[in-house]
Symmetry: C2
Subunit: 254 residues, 2 copies
Amino acid sequence: MDYKEQLIAFFKDVDARCILGLSIDCVIFGFYDNQLKVLLLRWKQSDEWGLPGGFIYKKESVDVAAQRILEERTGIKELFLQQFHTFGEEVRYNRAEISRKLNWPDNSTRLWPDRTVSIGYFALVDFMKVTPTADFLTDEYRWLDVEKLPPLLFDHNHIIEVALKTLRVQLSWQPVGYNLLPEKFTMPELQRLYETILNRPLDPRNFSKKMRALGIIERLEEQRKGGAFKSPYLFRFDKEKYKKALQEGHLSFS
Amino acid sequence: MDYKEQLIAFFKDVDARCILGLSIDCVIFGFYDNQLKVLLLRWKQSDEWGLPGGFIYKKESVDVAAQRILEERTGIKELFLQQFHTFGEEVRYNRAEISRKLNWPDNSTRLWPDRTVSIGYFALVDFMKVTPTADFLTDEYRWLDVEKLPPLLFDHNHIIEVALKTLRVQLSWQPVGYNLLPEKFTMPELQRLYETILNRPLDPRNFSKKMRALGIIERLEEQRKGGAFKSPYLFRFDKEKYKKALQEGHLSFS
DNA sequence: CCAAAAGTGTTTCAGATACACCCATGG
DNA sequence: CCATGGGTGTATCTGAAACACTTTTGG
């Protein structure tokens, strides 16, 4: 089978097994190199990038489908995953344009629906624990800086914007640090994470004071060596206290 | 045509004009008699109540569909309307049970899809400005107190709960008072509204102080007469200042 | 005159902000 | 020894919370 035939078979299969006209798009956030990153996939035979996504089986809840898609793409089973918006614009893409951008044979989009409503989920993952895997339609993945995204396929730039906005608003009651950082981290790393998401600088004295006051992290004896400067202490989240603080609505930065 | 034939024709029409397997449910909040109310519809030939809802035309954005459905049910064109969650459980209703509850003829649900994903919207409306209208499937409407709802059709109790939770969280940055109250209102009425949504009492001195400090309302010379007690002053929102305060993130009750 | 609801000011406390210097490390 | 980033405490301000009595009205 050549690619064209494979594509047609793929869409026939989707039509048979999945709900029509409804899809899921996942904005997978990671934190690395002091930058907030999004996992993106490059579509086969093209230079076009888009979000990981997929379809919902006829007998499968939407949440489970999102989890499945995420696990397929990242290999992570337990992760923070949240529905944030459903995108239902009348025109979310131009079929001819997509066909051209993706270098698809002319009639391969016949089975592609006229319009698709997409349910957006965002996930927070520990960059280091992820082993990204491309799907049938794509053959390369990359973590891209949220602040420096190229034009993406479909309305994916818009979807990422909405996800980011949601993340900012929810920063006060979501376990952001817990999910985006490795087990051990330094105070400046945690601060950088919050600064990146909020997109503004925070005072290191006040930040550290607040984090320590909440009692959600514990300082380890270890220090991180290697930089040409004072070795920072390592910290670890106290999972229980973190959850409690979130429930009680602390962790807000106004 | 008897009801059975009408039903079949109705669903055939929906199938032809609308997106399959996707619907909209609207939680329409109103405030009256110091209680937060939801607009519900009674389905024809039954005693079962459910939320106003509808389907999305093939060439229509989901937001526009929600607006259209709301206008059809309330007669109001400009209203506060917001998508809050998409409900995609694998089993959101039992077809046989629904058929029985609604006293539908046995084969009338053939055209009814196996499962439907529903996009939830909530609206805040001025109770007095609404002239509710039943739709094809229903023949009576009623405003019910959110705290005293009977078991509703489908997963509508759950949908209302989620809407209410969202409303509570967003109370700090949504124009709740502006949309739910009539043009002129008293301070105790406004306070009662906030108390009802938050489901806890607020101190009248602090409340009034805060509202006045924000400068989003203006006191009129008029007073409301009629009660066997001191006549309260009437207030009116300063629309511009209200919007500004919301944008700046005031109006939070912690 | 009495019951019911409206109206109003001060004190206290907690959390947020502003702010600057010394320390440790590798090169 | 120097450049770089890490680490820390105090004073001030703002907004939230607690709290009780007087006024008006209709019956």
